[in-house]
Symmetry: D2
Subunit: 214 residues, 4 copies
């Protein structure tokens, strides 16, 4: 299972979460990555944790003021990027172009989507993985694996039908139990945010999260 921690624009200390994630990853052998603000990529990568961007723009080098160039994210230490998060929905053509930009810069890609139909569409764009996150569950603390297990299994089926693309499961994930349930439904990883980023003790939160894998 892959654990991807999205720091969004939370008022957390990105380095503290990154150090916790690096340590737990090392101690347990579980793959854990942290996705900070673009401006924090450098310092998060410096902790040694696997570092992801939250987004890269559908552009190549050139006149694109205010973009997040995939190469710039990679130079700052990112090895992967989220795309089309429900808080940052993209045009279909731009998801395609952003996946291409990420591939060009050597970044792994996870394309988010809301339901099995959109998961199939996202998978057709050939990212490394897709993530299903029903928007209505994000940040609720109610895991999708419990609130709507069918959406996970249907997404796994949808992604498999298009091209054997692994599915991460997001929205409401915070505990080891949630992670285990997601795995039981066929997810190969989890995407989470507040459960770790807003935890009083991010390290303890991550340890609990990955405990079923150890």
């Amino acid at each position: 299972m892959f654990v991807l921690v999205n720091l969004k624009a939370y008022p957390c200390d990105p380095v503290e979460v990154a150090e916790a994630a690096a340590e737990v990853a090392k101690d347990t052998g579980v793959r854990i990555a942290v996705a900070p603000q673009a401006a924090h990529l450098d310092r998060v990568a410096a902790t040694g944790v696997e570092t992801w961007a939250q987004h890269v723009s559908p552009v190549d080098h050139g006149s694109h003021t205010g973009s997040t160039l995939a190469e710039a994210a990679a130079e700052a230490g990112a090895v992967g990027t989220l795309l089309n998060h429900s808080e940052n929905r993209l045009k279909l053509a731009d998801i395609d172009a952003s996946v291409r930009a990420a591939v060009r810069a050597g970044l792994e890609t996870v394309v988010c989507a809301n339901n099995p139909r959109q998961i199939a569409a996202a998978a057709a764009l050939e990212p490394d993985a897709v993530a299903v996150e029903p928007p209505e569950l994000i940040g609720t603390g109610t895991p999708v694996s419990q609130a709507d297990p069918d959406i996970v299994t249907d997404s796994v089926d949808a992604a498999a039908s298009v091209g054997d693309v692994p599915v991460l499961c997001g929205a409401g994930i915070s505990t080891g139990e949630d992670l285990e349930a997601a795995g039981d439904l066929g997810a190969e990883g989890v995407l989470l945010a507040s459960g770790v980023a807003k935890a009083d003790d991010p390290k303890a939160a991550l340890e609990d999260l990955v405990s079923p894998l150890v």
Copy 2:
């Protein structure tokens, strides 16, 4: 073959084109539809021609000022809608929601896309058809079937692999020869605009276009 004439925001007389299309459709038995501005749907539908919207918004009834509600388009006479035209690219989640809105209002749907990967993604959203239009060929007069035949056949394969979704072929189509070439490549229809809407004699242009089908 289905012929869908997109009037865009051209300075043509939408009723003149609609009447020409209605007549040619009647004379030849070929299915021809006309997609005018939303504000022109009523008068175009009044000609008896099959009338399509150029877009419907991803919304239901409610507080959506400036939207194009699918039901309003249907009430004005539309029986189908284009979505995600390259001049009006939509977010993935919104294409999905717009297809659902169109289905809810009884409108047929054609989702446009730029390349075979995006065609597969569009087809996964379960529209009635998809249309492949490489943006660089739109309005050039060089038909995609000639400039890049592989993109058409690859799109037909991509749509078929996802769920047997018919493919229309757009960009640069204007003559009967273009239409025939599109059909030979597996397209079940053509999407065109300036070739008819900007023609001195739209009726003659349509007659030439459908001549291989008669």
Copy 3:
């Protein structure tokens, strides 16, 4: 006072509201306009009521699929247009271009904005009027003139400082009392929606609304 009734994408009968508005306008001499969906402009204008678009696109004739061309709105009977409603916020450059497009097509313009700063900005683009609508009050039934009278007077001052642009007052307006309060604060009109469009008896709602003016 100018009364502008925005039908949004409400499930009301636009013709019924338009007829009510036409009648009340005629009976009372108050200027009342109705802004329906673009696809309903024709039938609303046919009632004889002053008809407005909810939006026009920042484009001229040309390749703009899915746009709302100002000329098409005018041909369908619109004599004015809302722009930048809080449900349809536009880029600054596009508000400017949409005002220009409306002027080109002979449409009057009302640019909406959220607060006095944005009202000044909107007024600088030289529309015929601006409308202040705090988004948090829209659809609440609590009139802005009561919830936050300062925002109205500050908007009137802001618009005056830029160029003597009249201010309409929106958000939560539904009764004659609300309209009167808006006028007392310096507004030269009101923008309302659900108070009329969702009323059991739109005509009675309008009669109550304009009663202080009669």
Copy 4:
């Protein structure tokens, strides 16, 4: 005169340009800032040059995946931010919210706009400065001060009429002569990009640029 060098998504070495700018600023006493990709803010700021963001999002801390949080830009070393560059046009309400976010994080703001009308609108949002950049001149090498001097003087007048907001002049600026002409037209600074970022010798380019000020 303030010289703001926008690195866009150019394939230049941001640190090389930053070091050149820092040196020329120190040698000449001219205020020179560099605006790199968000992911490069840290390393550019480390050179000691005045560092600006190319954009900050109209958000506060919270659930905003893929945003550029003003605080994150500030933590990475930015002391100012461009907003609404013609390659990154924003909604009016978002320019307002982005200026507020920048102020909150202690960042100086320059809001770009295309013409005197939009300059007045931008100035009404109370940024620290505005920048006029006719989009058709960006990257051409033809300075706006030469191609269209009236747009600069009209912008200076427009900004002054709204609230004494300084105007920077962008588009096509690359030489000391261009900078001088901009100053003569009333600009208090220049915004430039390719003239420095794509120069074979950025330091020499900057030295030439600021030579009239030394």
